[in-house]
Symmetry: C2
Subunit: 201 residues, 2 copies
DNA sequence: CTTGACACATACCAACCGGTATGTATGATT
DNA sequence: AATCATACATACCGGTTGGTATGTGTCAAG
């Protein structure tokens, strides 16, 4: 009956991708199960076979879709750098250089979910905060290495500064989404870059 | 029948206050009309007499609840200062000194709505962005005055920097909400303060 | 060849949603 | 005193939601 018979992991992946897109567009609460099924051309039988409920689907999206993307984009480039400031500057320049930054249209998937779900559901909050804290930790340890290598001022509080950098970046993305302006986005990234310069020794 | 007869503006205000709280808790889409009515001990007749639909109620909350509060808290202190950096530092210290910052629990009402509604509804986005831009403009003009008075470096791009400052602040609040940590909140505000110092001449 | 687990599809449901239509008490106007 | 708009209250409605119960085709094991 189905075109692709007996390929459960592919089906699951299709559901995750569609759910990721739908959640990114409308948020978790407003994300429609029916819309996800329409996008995937699947049925409720398939979805509820792979996920016990909507919440589990959302959590799976966080762990299996958002986390790996964020890791590839933000964690890996800072993984073992001795010059975190230069690496982050390069990262910001690369993001600013995109001709159609997708984050300006719909924002950062992680931040969107954090703002929506954290005050509403403790399980969601803990998962999202775990991912966020991992990010902050990556930046923090990179800054610590930068202090050792002499790129970063010794006075810099690595933990607080890392938290602030990630916060400011998410803030820039969020405000640019609201403004719907790539120009504002690039300007905000530029100012964040200028701030990073002040951390140099 | 009703205890307070013929007091339409009071009724309207009660609806706005309850709607503001409900929206702050659950976001606009998830805000329940029935819950607002339960909180106010009113009925649908009252609500739909004062507001044509839910959307109009939400927009009224933005203009009549969020805007004045934001203006009192953030606009007025910077209105005519010649030392914007000092004024903002004082503002940040005051916010950090609160023993139970309400923004850590539920976040900034403006930012919450921006993140949720901007990609979904253009009317909402324009209203929210209007308020946000007013905020940025207040900061921008304060920075401009600071440049004139000699407090702020001349190289500072007032417009971009103002956008960044507000973005970073909203970012700090949002991330702290997610972390549910007053300590993180204070640390983030402190780092924002250190950034402001770098704008000094 | 049969059995049974897996991977779905179909049909159905109670709950809740925003919104509306109608009824009614009150106060001001004429 | 009669009229009428205001300011609500009550009852109701269609649509959508997430979720479930049941049916069915496929494949692997025995």
């Amino acid at each position: 009956m189905n075109a692709s018979v007996k390929t459960p992991d592919i089906t699951r992946l299709k559901l995750l991708e569609a759910a990721f897109a739908e959640i990114h567009r409308h948020g978790f609460q407003a994300a429609s199960i029916m819309q996800i099924l329409a996008d995937t051309e699947l049925t409720k039988g398939a979805l509820y076979h792979h996920f016990p409920d909507k919440k589990a689907l959302g959590l799976a999206v966080i762990e299996e879709m958002i986390r790996p993307r964020l890791a590839a984009m933000m964690f890996d480039p800072l993984a073992e750098t001795q010059q975190p400031l230069a690496a982050m500057q390069a990262l910001l320049r690369a993001k600013a250089a995109e001709n159609a930054p997708w984050v300006v249209a719909l924002g950062c998937p992680l931040n969107n979910l954090m703002q929506e779900m954290s005050p509403l559901d403790e399980v969601f909050r803990l998962r999202l905060n775990g991912l966020f804290q991992d990010w902050v930790t990556v930046v923090k340890e990179a800054l610590a290495r930068g202090k050792k290598s002499g790129e970063v001022k010794k006075e810099v509080d690595a933990a607080q500064t890392a938290f602030f950098i990630v916060s400011a970046l998410e803030g820039c993305i969020g405000m640019s989404k609201n403004t719907q302006s790539v120009e504002a986005y690039r300007g905000c990234l530029k100012q964040l870059g200028l701030y990073l310069d002040t951390l140099k020794r």
